[in-house]
Amino acid sequence: MYSFEYHRPESIAQATALRAEAEDAIYLAGGQTLIPTLKQRLAAPSDVIDLSRVPGLAGIELKSDCVVIGAMTRHAEVAASAEVARAIPALAFLAGEIGDAQVRNRGTLGGSVANSDPSADYPAAVIGLGATIVTDRRRIAADDFFHDLFETALEAGELLTAIEFPIAKRAAYCKFPNPASRYAVVGVFAADFGGKVRVGVTGAGPCAFRATAIEAALGKKLDAKSVDAVEIEYDRFNSDLHASAEYRANLVRVMAKRAVEKLLTA
């Protein structure tokens, strides 16, 4: 790890001010991606701004039509949350599928979503539920948030503070984990909002995206078989030693079908 200055701000204003003042600062949430990156000397920030003591960034709030989860809420808390389990059980399930137990005890919602790792789990739910990303300066719709590999709508210094997940009538997440890293090779989050179906896919492309063709098919008939007829375009899909683009396309179909089956029996 290269050396850096460490800061532990106690307010959002302080955090963003530190970020603005420093030469090349980076926010530290749970650190489960950032710290390994720093250890490998793949990043050399001048300043690390630890958000763990900023009040108000962590917590789960159940509202009438959505669940609001603070950016610094750990995966384990979401996975174990009675509120989330009641409102959007698929989201609690997804949180329990991230990484491993130790990672879930440290990793945070905000850190995961802001990083936009192509194989992270949460982005599938953000897209699938049509969540709203709340920052220190604005609200961003899920569909506008993920731009590319590790690229999001967040501007320099913009701080993700919470995510509002609309409560679906029913939803389900199915993941095909990378056998080595346990990240998602493909993860599909399907949500039924009573007639309107959203399908978020992670792992397959450079960033999470809506599977609109599958959504259209499921909109006609919410049935696993509906997915069979859908052509899965995989020109822009990731291809690596664990899964070719073609195989990923198959996994999108299979995980989508299984998510629908699970959703229907939920």
């Binding site: 790890m1 290269y2 050396s3 850096f4 200055e5 460490y6 532990r8 530290l28 650190g31 489960q32 710290i35 390994p36 720093l38 250890k39 490998q40 690390v48 630890d50 763990s52 384990a76 174990a80 990484g99 491993d100 137990a101 130790q102 990672v103 005890n105 440290r106 890293s181 346990r182």
Partner: protein, 152 residues
């Protein structure tokens, strides 16, 4: 920078560079070499300790982040003449061979038993996915965790 932390019930004040990892404080500063480092990509779990009661990989936590927190390491859960039930179960079930992954495995297993209800073989296997063991094939580890769950 100054970091003050409680390790195995004892308070320590250490002066560290901001880029110091928790595991390096434990091993290098406090001489608690029971916590091991088996990889550099936060995958193997050999460095698992409890941070405020929950399992974390101490190679993926900065010392600065644990200022004011309580850390428990393998040295803090039991001693040869007063073993923690999980330690005893590992020995009774031959759940270790070379012993290198063992401290991290035990710390993860304790968290698992304390936080997951109705443990069965499948849940134990899934719950230990963050800890690699190359010796045992996990067979006896699973047995040990299920046994310890009975007595904890």
């Amino acid at each position: 920078m100054k970091v003050s932390l409680t390790v195995n019930g004892r308070r320590h004040d250490v002066d560290v560079a901001p880029n110091t990892l928790l595991v390096d404080v434990l091993r290098g500063r406090l001489g608690l070499t029971g916590t091991h480092v088996g990889c550099d990509t936060s995958q193997c779990g050999a460095c698992t300790v409890h941070l405020d009661g929950r399992s974390v990989k101490s190679c993926t936590v900065l010392a600065a982040q644990v200022d004011g927190a309580a850390v428990t390491t393998i040295e803090g859960i039991g001693s040869p003449d007063a073993l923690h039930p999980m330690q005893a179960a590992f020995r009774d079930c031959h759940a270790l061979q070379c012993g290198f992954c063992t401290p991290g495995m035990i710390m993860s297993a304790i968290d698992l038993v304390q936080n997951v209800e109705n443990l069965d073989e499948r849940k134990v296997r899934e719950g230990l996915e963050g800890n690699l063991c190359r010796c045992t094939g996990y067979h006896n580890i699973v047995k040990a965790v299920l046994n310890a769950a009975e007595s904890m």
